[in-house]
Amino acid sequence: MYKKNEIIDGEVIVYADSKLYSKDSLFKCMYWYGGKFHTNISMYDKSTYRISIKPVNDIEYNSEKLKQLLFQLERDLIDFNLRDIVTKETQNLRDLLVAKAFSNGEFDENPPGEISDPIGFIP
């Protein structure tokens, strides 16, 4: 269910659709807020995450700063979700790359790369 993001009593709260945001990305994002904020992730309803942060030192945060914080959190949640998509989509390839890099030839043919010339060395 759609719920508008909000600021209540100095706490910045964002609601995220669990079909769009991965749980991993929420935790990875909250990790970076853990230095200065109390952080929390819970389920608002069956399909909506409730993510909240509250400054540890709330004297530093007036309403203008809290609004900026909300904006930043919304943006960071999107960024971490995008990062998570790339990480998951490319995980096998990264493993293969590292295996090939350190295998002393063992994985060179499997699966094979073909050295073509996309950067245009061959005239």
Binding site: G35, D79, L82, R83, L97, P111, G113, P118
Partner: protein
């Protein structure tokens, strides 16, 4: 704006049978450079700067090979996307990855011998040295020197560096001579290249010592914190000016050994933070080809406290001012580098990594450096033995009586190796600057109380992330600076 230097064939090279938006992602990470630009970096450190919002389009498959030809070409040729599930260039990428991690091939190169803990200085931030005449207690014994050399030559690295540190290393010069001659003989027998360095404050340097250094190709590395009023304040020498002694020593050493065989390192203290320009000028006026703006030592500052963030911000401000002063000299036509930037820039702009132990992943400790302490104990790094002076033996790997495998591959080493690659650390694992940065478990422990570290409150992370971001932003906004930076990493002085 996409990369201008893209070398890519024309559109006919793409698979035009494929749907216009059908491509596969290759592993990459991204970071917002500022409000307008974001940067994407692949697994081998190649990067592209793009207008904000582009990454989202790439991931959502909104980049169209016909409409966005340039960007599409850049993304393909720089290994960010591929038209096939497994890029046909995977082997090229793997070779480049291996090149970036080449330092792993050689294992430990730098062997630090803490030849004496005695010192004639009483620097306020130094918690290590001892003002004492007691050689038996605070000098490395000949027996321990023998054992250290024995272990050193077990390293598979064909290029071994033996570095003598103190206290003040020259107080035990006879022992240095003994160690040098013994090591030279073995190096010749084993066909290894041996470099020798003495780290000294130069107060005790004289012609005889330098004659010996010249005969044995020993390099001199000294400390210079800036102009006299900073250096003397930082480095207290009873009844003398440490600065005057250092400058005389530098001049004499250069005369005897040649300019290039004498280097200097600065330590940043609270006092230094107000004088970035003066410090850079001092190095330039003394004829050095560069300066290494080093981080504030975690031992002189309360980095475990809340003050650390503030100190790091002040350091970053100091660093940027110093960097711009260095750039001013370059704009006037001089080749003069800032060496921390140079390390990052080598990783950003070249296919290679740099053998700098504080910025490697896997970390440089054990892998790149090992410390043999004056009393026969063996530590993972120089910071580790400083912790030990505060009675914290967390990074003591053993003693010179232990055998090689136990020291280098024993339980303690294994414990450290579990967290020594930033690729697997919280925060770092998704950081775009992972390939340019490193892991430092000892620093994490010293400043945060555990080896794993907490990136959001880490001064190591805060400092590296901002300096890397800043260097990239400078290059993006100013072509002249980019050319200067490219020159720094091209020329090997």
């Amino acid at each position: 704006m996409t990369k201008k230097t893209r070398k890519f064939r024309d559109i006919s090279n793409f698979n035009l049978q494929q749907n216009e938006n059908e491509y596969y992602l290759l592993p990459f990470k991204f970071h917002r450079l500022n409000n307008d630009k974001e940067i994407i970096v692949n697994e081998v450190g190649d990067y592209l700067t793009l207008p904000n919002g582009t990454v989202e389009k790439i991931i959502k498959r909104e980049i169209n090979k016909i409409k966005d030809t340039d960007l599409y070409g850049d993304l393909i040729s720089n290994f960010f996307i591929s038209e096939e599930v497994i890029s046909p260039l995977i082997d090229v990428l793997a070779t480049r990855y291996r090149t970036k991690k080449l330092f792993l091939n050689y294992f430990t190169g730098l062997h630090i011998f803490v030849i004496s803990l005695r010192c004639e200085h009483t620097c306020h931030y130094c918690q290590v040295s001892r003002v004492t005449q007691n050689k038996d207690l605070y000098d490395m014994s000949l027996l321990n020197i023998d054992k250290g050399i024995d272990i050193m030559f077990k390293s598979p690295n064909p290029h071994i560096t033996m570095e003598f540190q103190g206290g003040e290393a020259l107080l035990a010069f006879d022992n240095i001579k003994y160690a040098v001659e013994k090591a030279e003989k073995i190096a010749q027998e084993k066909g290894k290249i041996l470099s020798k360095v003495i780290c000294t404050n130069l107060a005790l340097i004289n012609e005889d010592i330098l004659e010996y250094c010249k005969e044995h190709d020993i390099l001199i590395s000294t400390s210079l914190d800036g102009p006299k009023f900073i250096h003397d304040k930082n480095r207290n020498k009873p009844n003398a000016s440490s600065y005057d002694l250092a400058i005389n020593g530098i001049n004499l050493s250069r005369e005897k050994l040649g300019f290039e065989n004498v280097s200097a390192l600065m330590t940043t203290t609270k006092l230094s933070l107000d004088y970035p320009t003066e410090i850079v000028d001092e190095y330039f006026n003394l004829g050095f080809k560069g300066i290494f703006i080093r981080n504030i030592s975690p031992y002189g500052f309360a980095l475990r406290s809340d003050k650390s963030k503030y100190e790091t911000e002040k350091f970053l401000d100091f660093y940027k001012k110093a960097l711009h002063r260095v750039l001013d000299y370059n704009f006037k036509g001089h080749f003069f580098t800032e060496d921390l930037a140079r390390i990052f820039l080598s990783k950003i702009l070249t296919p290679f990594n740099v053998g700098f132990v504080d910025l490697q992943s896997p970390a440089g400790l054990i892998n790149g450096v090992i410390v043999f302490n004056y009393d026969g104990s063996v530590y993972a790094t120089d910071e580790s033995r400083m912790l030990a002076e505060q009675k914290d033996y967390t990074f003591k790997l053993g003693t010179l009586d232990d055998d090689y495998d136990d020291l280098f591959f024993g339980e303690k080493s294994q414990e450290i190796t579990e967290i020594w690659a930033n690729e697997g650390l919280n925060g770092c694992s998704e950081c775009a600057f992972q390939q340019y940065c490193g892991a430092d478990p000892v620093h994490n422990y010293a400043t945060q109380g555990n080896m794993y570290g907490h990136r959001p409150t880490s001064d190591f992370c805060q400092k590296n992330m901002e300096i890397i971001r800043y260097l990239l932003e400078l290059m993006e906004n100013n072509e002249d600076i980019k050319k200067i930076f490219q020159g720094w990493v091209k020329v090997r002085s």
